[in-house]
Amino acid sequence: MKKILVLTAALVVGVATALAVGQFMTSKPATVTAKAQWKNVYRTQSGLVMGADLIVFAEHVSAEPGRVVGGGEDATPFTNNTFKIEKIVKGEYEGSELMVEQTGGIMADGRIFNIDDGGPYEIGARYLLFLNSNEEGAFYVINHQARYNVRGDELEGVDPTDRVVASFHRARFDEANEMIRERVRLFR
């Protein structure tokens, strides 16, 4: 009887702890927070790999304000991010630097506009990026599944609760590189 009570108490404390941590885990909302319906959302790692025109490991070098669609408080700003390419895992690209357009940035009134793709890039940080190009030749990160911060030797995805993100999240740099190359080989 006592054992059951102790076990029940442990269960209750566990649930309460999880709920309390959830309550106090505060996210810091940007001034303008955006959520997208991405054109392509993949169900498998293979889908993401095959859907990308270019997959690179790259270091973020700089961010410059880009174009703006609309005006006033509802305007949609874009940011031009420059990356130094460390390694091309899929696709072809000539040059050592790459410009990636990102939805979001600093608005005319100084507010920060963040979309759910992981937000602004850190200068000097390394990333694994799954990219597509548009008709003007500009690259963009496919969606929230397509960006990984390389922390030390490990990848960190934007939303690890996503099945595809989870398949790369916490993978080592070399492991991820090999997983992608294997997918490319399989579907060639």
Binding site: K3, V6, L7, T8, A10, L11, V12, V13, G14, V15, A16, T17, A18, L19, G22, Q23, F24, M25, T26, S27, P29, T31, V32, T33, A34, K35, A36, Q37, W38, K39, N40, V41, R43, R67, V69, G70, G71, E73, D74, T76, F78, E101, T103, R111, F113, I115, N132, N134, E135, Y140, V141, I142, N143, T161
Partner: protein
């Protein structure tokens, strides 16, 4: 001996942690803080009729398609706990435009946030992709419009059902929401007048 006794207690605690985390994440709110979703401070939300954001007339698809999609979205969310009223002190704006080939079909924005309460919001449809009528049927446009409006009330994506526009892995639900969406909204706005 003591270790053997503490083991089941620790296991039960760990199980409780998993269960508790599951409770937090089981629903699909757009989380602001802890388990609190972003939300308007009032169930009555004034909205403006859908317009081209940059009125340059550069839209390729028939603009009426976007207007119809947003009208359908308003019609489907209105019978929930939300009360959507056109005009007045507008807090929800509906736009369509050519935002470029940047990866997204639609976008929901929320701003002026204080204690998870949304000051204003917008829903946008991207004509740069949606102009392709062969690829994106009116049902697909309706799906995106419905989802982007749903986000502004505090709902996140819901991949567990194909009968709701809040599923971001499909474009086939059109202007359709399910009981889960209604229940979740009722939960989020339970204490909101």
């Amino acid at each position: 001996m003591k270790g053997k006794r503490i083991l089941p207690v620790m296991a039960m605690f760990a199980f409780g942690l998993v269960l508790g985390t599951g409770i937090v994440l089981a629903n699909h709110p757009w989380i602001c803080s802890g388990s609190t979703a972003y939300h308007f401070g009032n169930r009555t939300v004034n909205y403006a009729a859908a317009v081209e954001e940059n009125p340059a007339g550069s839209i390729s698809r028939n603009p009426q398609n976007y207007v119809n999609a947003f009208n359908g979205a308003i019609a489907v969310w209105n019978p929930t706990v939300m009360n959507l009223v056109q005009g007045g002190n507008v807090r929800l704006r509906l736009f369509y435009d050519r935002y470029g080939r940047n990866g997204w079909l639609g976008l929901a924005t929320i701003s002026g946030i204080s204690n998870c309460v949304i000051g204003s919001a917008s829903s946008k449809l991207n004509d740069s992709y949606l102009q392709d009528t062969a690829r994106y049927s009116q049902t697909a446009v309706n799906h995106v419009a419905c989802q982007e409006v749903g986000h502004t009330f505090g709902l996140n994506h819901n991949r567990s059902s194909s009968t709701t526009c809040m599923n971001d892995t499909i474009l086939t639900a059109g202007n359709q929401i399910n009981q889960h969406d209604r229940d979740l909204l009722a939960q989020i706005y339970a204490s909101i007048p």
